[in-house]
Symmetry: D2
C-alpha cells in the first residue's frame, strides 16, 4: 500500500483527492494537514466522507510527512516550493497541484504569480504531469507539476495540430468556459450563488495566469513561434470545463485527415475520447470521471479548424490527473481507482 499525505485538504482539489483516494485499492491515506482546521475530522467538513474517511486534519507541525511515500500539495501557490525540498531529500515523492513547478522559466513564473521562487533548483527536475503528452518522463519522476485545468484542455486539443504543422502557431484562440468550482472554496462575493447563478461572464481577459504555462508547453510541440489568445469565462455550473479552440489551417488537408491526426495521437488512451468528427461533447459526460472528450469541426469546410474539448475541471483537470500520475510513478496500472463513470444525469 502506498502511504499518502495531503497538504491542504480543505479546498475542492483536496476533497476530490480524498474522494478518489479513499476507494483506491493501493492507497492508505496517512495524513491530511490544515493549519486552520487542526483536529477537525475531515468528515465534519465534508459529510460526503462520513463513514469512509476517518482521518482528522492535523496542523503541519504535528505530523511527519516524511513517513509518506508520496505527498500531494492541494495548496495555494507557494506552499509546495517551501516544503518539497525536504520531502524529496528524504525520498518522498511530491505531486503539486498548484503552479509552483509548472513554469520552467523562473522569471516568467515570478512575473506571472508575483511571488519569489524559493526552490528554483527543483524547476529543472520537475516533470509536467500531463500524462498523455509526457507519460515516460512521469514514470521516472519524483516531483510532478500537475497542469492547470485550462492548460490541460488547450494542450490536448492543439497538440495534434501543432505537431503535424497544419495550423498557424502564431494565431491560436482558446475561448474557454469553466464551472464555478474552478475558482476554489473561498469566501468571496463574486462566487456566491446569488452572484454567479443564472449569469455568464468572461473574466481575466486582459491576462490569465494560465497563458504563460500553456504557451510554454505548446512551444515544445513546434518550432514555429506560438501566440495564443486565451479568454476564460465563468459558467453557472459546479463542475465542468469546455474549451472551444480555433486554429487557422495552413495546409491543404481533408476533414478525414484532420480527424485521423487526433485518432492517431490518442489511440489507446483510456482517458481521451476522440468523438466522431462534428460531434458536440457535453461537459456532463465527464462529471466526476477522469475522461476528457473532444471533437473536431471545420465550419463550411473553410480554413478554420475548431476543436471542442470537455473535462471535469476537478478530475482530469486536477485531482484525477494527479492520481493518474501517482499510478505511473509507482508502477501501477494507470487507471487504478479512476474507473468510475460520469454521473449523468
Amino acid at each position: 500500500m502506498i502511504k499518502v499525505g495531503i497538504v491542504g485538504g480543505t479546498g475542492y482539489t483536496g476533497v476530490e483527492l480524498l474522494r478518489l483516494l479513499a476507494v483506491h485499492p493501493e492507497v492508505q491515506l496517512t495524513a491530511i494537514t490544515s493549519r486552520k482546521e487542526d483536529g477537525l475530522p475531515v468528515a465534519d467538513m465534508y459529510p460526503s466522507l462520513r463513514g469512509r474517511v476517518n482521518l482528522a486534519f492535523s496542523a503541519p507541525d504535528k505530523v511527519d510527512l516524511t513517513q509518506c511515500d508520496v505527498v500531494f500539495f492541494a495548496t495555494p501557490h507557494g506552499v509546495a516550493m517551501a516544503q518539497a525540498p525536504e520531502l524529496l531529500a528524504k525520498g518522498v515523492k511530491v505531486i503539486d497541484l498548484a503552479a509552483d513547478f509548472r513554469i520552467k522559466d523562473r522569471a516568467v513564473f515570478e512575473k506571472t504569480y508575483k511571488i519569489d521562487h524559493t526552490a528554483p533548483e527543483l524547476l529543472e527536475q520537475a516533470v509536467y504531469g500531463l500524462v498523455e503528452l509526457n507519460r515516460e518522463e512521469i514514470k521516472g519522476a519524483n516531483l510532478i507539476a500537475n497542469p492547470g485545468c485550462y492548460p490541460n484542455t488547450m494542450q490536448i486539443g492543439f497538440a495534434p495540430l501543432l505537431k503535424a504543422g497544419v495550423i498557424d502557431a502564431g494565431n491560436l484562440i482558446a475561448d474557454c468556459k469553466s464551472g464555478v468550482s474552478g475558482a476554489g472554496r473561498k469566501a468571496e462575493i463574486g462566487i456566491l450563488f446569488s452572484e454567479s447563478s443564472d449569469n455568464f461572464k468572461a473574466y481575466g481577459v486582459a491576462g490569465h495566469r494560465h497563458t504563460p504555462e500553456t504557451t510554454a508547453q505548446l512551444q515544445r510541440l513546434t518550432s514555429d513561434k506560438v501566440a495564443l489568445v486565451f479568454t476564460p469565462h465563468l459558467v453557472p455550473m459546479i463542475r465542468g470545463m469546455h474549451s472551444t479552440l480555433y486554429g487557422k489551417l495552413t495546409k491543404d488537408i481533408s476533414n478525414d485527415e484532420l480527424q485521423k491526426l487526433f485518432e492517431d495521437a490518442y489511440a489507446g488512451e483510456q482517458f481521451i475520447d476522440v468523438m466522431p468528427f462534428g460531434s458536440h461533447p457535453e461537459t456532463r459526460t465527464t462529471k466526476g470521471s477522469n475522461m476528457l472528450r473532444l471533437a473536431v469541426h471545420r465550419p463550411d469546410n473553410g480554413n478554420t479548424v475548431i476543436v471542442l474539448v470537455v473535462q471535469d475541471n476537478l478530475v482530469k483537470g486536477a485531482s484525477g490527473q494527479a492520481v493518474q500520475c501517482m499510478n505511473l510513478m509507482f508502477g501501477l496500472e494507470e487507471s487504478l481507482g479512476l474507473n468510475t463513470i460520469a454521473l449523468l444525469p
Copy 2:
C-alpha cells in the same frame, strides 16, 4: 458472473443501472431492450458510457431475456407485470423499479395507477425491496418490488418512531422535496430547464401515487391506524431528495432516547447514516452514492419530532437500492459495486 438484462434502459433509472452495473465486479451486462431505439448503441444516447458500455439497445422481440439470471425493469408501470410471469417461470429473477408489485392490495393498486393488474397471482410472492426494513425476505426473493423514491425516505424516517410507539400514527406529515430527475426523461413542458430552473413549487398535493404505497408499508410497523399527509415539491436540482417528516410525540421521551431509537434501528447499516442529533443533512452529501442520511430534531423540546432524510433519488431511491437487492438475492456482499463516494462539490 451474473448475466443481467435491463428492460427499458432509456430512462434515468435505466442509465443509472448501467452506470452502476458496468463497473460491478460480478455482473455481465447481457441485454438492454428498447422498442424505440432498437439497434442504437447505448453510448450514443448516453455518451457518458462511451468506451465503457458497448451494448446496443435491442427490440424486445430480438433478445431472449430468459438467458439472463436477473432482469431489471426500468419501465413505465404495467410492463413488468406483463413480462414477469414468463421470466419467473423460467427461473429468471425479476427486479421491478416501477410500481407494478409495490402494493399488495390489487384494488388499491388499480385505483391508484388506473390500470388493470394482469399478474395479480404474483402480488403475494413479490417482496418489497427496502433492504434495511426487509433484508431477510429479499435474500430469498425471486421477484422484487423496488420501493418508490419518496416512500423510501418516509419509511426509513418514520419506522423507528412507529415501531417504538412514541408518535401518533394518525398524524404524520411528510413535506418532501425532489430534484427534477425524479420526473423522468420525458419530453414535457413542465420540466424544461426554462420552466423549472430558478423556481420552486409543490405538486400533486391533492393526492400522489406514493401515498397508498407508503401508508400500507408504514401500517406494517404499528397496530395503530396510520394517517399520512404527504406533500411533494419540485426543487431546481437534478438529483437529490429531502424529506422533512413531522410526528407528534405521545410519550415522555428524552432527546437522547429519541436519537438512540434511530442509532439502534440502523446500527451496522452501511447505507444509512444517522447523523448527530440536530444536524442538517444536505442532499449533495449523497449525490451519486447509495447513502441515505438522516437527522432528528425537536424544536424547543416540544411535542413535535422532526426527521430530516436525504438521499439521491436515482441511487438509494431507485437503481442503487435495486442493485443492493440483487446483491442479496445472489448471495453477494450487500455493498458490492455500491461503494463510490458522493460527488461533492
Copy 3:
C-alpha cells in the same frame, strides 16, 4: 417629490430598493450611505444600474439624512435603532427593513437577536409594516418595522384561518423554503455557488429568529394560545420563497367555505392573489414583482388544511413591501412604482 435616503445600500434589499425607487414617479433618490464604499458610484457595484442611478455611496458622516422625507434602513440589525431617534425627532419618517422594531417585547427581542435594544422607547410607536393586515395603522405611521420575509408568508397564509377560528392555533406547522438571496450578500462559504447549487437542505431547525416575530403577530389574531413549528430550508434559486403551511381543522367546514375565507380576507388586494382551490403556485410567477400568491388544499378532504404561499423574498418579502408602506405613509396610490409583472420565464 419625496426625498429618499437609504442607509446601507450595498446589500440585496438595498439594491432592490434602488431598482424600485429609481423608476418610482414620486421619488427623488437623495442619499445612499455606506461606510465602507464611500465615494464609489452605486452603478460600479451594481452595473445593472448604469445609466439609471447616478448617485455614489456616501460615508454616513458626510451626508445629512435629516434633509430627507423618509429614510430606509437596509442594514444589519442594530443600526436603525441607533439612528432612528434623531431622524424621527427631526420629522423624518423611518422604514426599517431589519428586525430592530419588529418585536414589541424588548426582552424577547434581546434574547432573539442577542443585542441590547438602545431605543426601547420607540417600540411602542413602531408600526408593523404588513400592509394587508395593518393598513390603517401604517398610513399614520412615522416608524415602520418591515416584516421578515418568512413571517410575511406565514401571516398572510394563517390569518384567515386563525381569525375564523377554524384551526388549532396550538398546532401550526410552517415548512418554508427560501432562495439563497435571503441569506444576504455576505462572503460566506455556505452560500457559495459550489456549495448551494444542486443542493437542498434545512437550516436553523432548532430555532430561527423569525419564529418569535411570527408567533407574536399571529397571537394578535386569536385568543387561543399560538404554537408554531417553523422549519426553513434553502433552495438553489436566487429569488423566491415558498411556504407550505399546515393547520388542523377544528370545525366542520366545507372546502368552499375554506376558500371563501381567503377570498373575503383579501378581496380588493392588489398584491395578494388567491388562486383557485387546489392550485400549485410557483415562485417564478412572482419573480421581481410585489405579488404574493396563495392556494388552499385539503388532502383527502381530511382534517388537515394546507396553504401554499409564494412571493419574491426581496420584493413582497422585503423592499417592495417597504415601498408599499412608503406609498401609504405619503398618501400615494398604494401600488405606485410597484406594477411591473413577474419575469417569467
Copy 4:
C-alpha cells in the same frame, strides 16, 4: 392607444411581449391568437399575468386582426409570410419576430430555412429592425423583420470596427453563449432541466441559421468580403446571451481610439451601454431589461481585438427590440414601456 394583436402568444417571445405591452402606456392589447389554446385565458398558461392580462387566446379564424394597428408575429418561421400580405394591404403594420423577412436574398433564405418563401414580393420593403443601426428606415416602415438574438450582438459588436475599417472583415470569429430560453418553449428532451442544467455544450457548430443573416447585414457595413465563423453554445441559465467577438486588427490603432470608435458609434443610445475599456459585462446586468452592454479588450496589446457583448435574449434580443421598433413606427418616445431596470440579483 395603439391596438395590438399578437399571433402565437404561447411561446417565450410571446409571453415576453405580453409582459412588456401589458404595462405600456400607449398600448391596448386587443387579440392574442393560438390555434391550439383557443379559449384558454392567457393567465392560465402564464400565472405571472394573473390580474394583469385578462385576454384569452383566440383561434386565428375567430378574430379579425385587421382591426389592429399593429400585429406582432411570435410564431415559428413561415407563419408571418402567410398572413402579412393581407394585413399590410389593410393598413396594419407588421412586426415579425421570426426569420421570414430577415434575409433579403430569397434563395439564401430558402436554403437556410428549408421552406419556400410565399411572399417574396415583401422582401424588398421589409425593414431590418435593429434600431441602433437602422433607426431612420424603421420609423417609416410598415413591415419589420426583427433581428435574431445572436445576430443582434454580433452586429452591434462588430459594426464600429468594420465601419472604421480597422479589422480584417474576412476573419471574424463569434464565440456566442445563450441561455436555454433561446431554444424556445418546446417539449424536447435536450432542453429538459435534467439534461441542460449543470452542463455546457456547443451546438450547431457546422452551420447555424443565424450565420447567413449576420453575414449579410455585416456586409452592408464594409466593402471588403465578410467571412464569419459563428459558434453557439448553451449555458445553464434561463435568460441571457454573451458573445465573445474576435477581430484581427489591420491598422495601427491605440486602445483609446478603439474605445472611442464604440463610444462615438453609440453616443446617445439609451439601450447600448459602452462600458469602460477592459470591463467584463455580465449577462445578469441586463436580465429583464432592454439594455445591451459591451466592452472592448485587447490582450497583451496585440493584434486581436475582443468585444464582449451581453443582452437579455428575450428582451433586447427579441421582444424588447420589437417594442422599440413599434415605438418608432408610431412616433412614440423610443424607450416608452422599456425602462425597467435589470433584475439583479
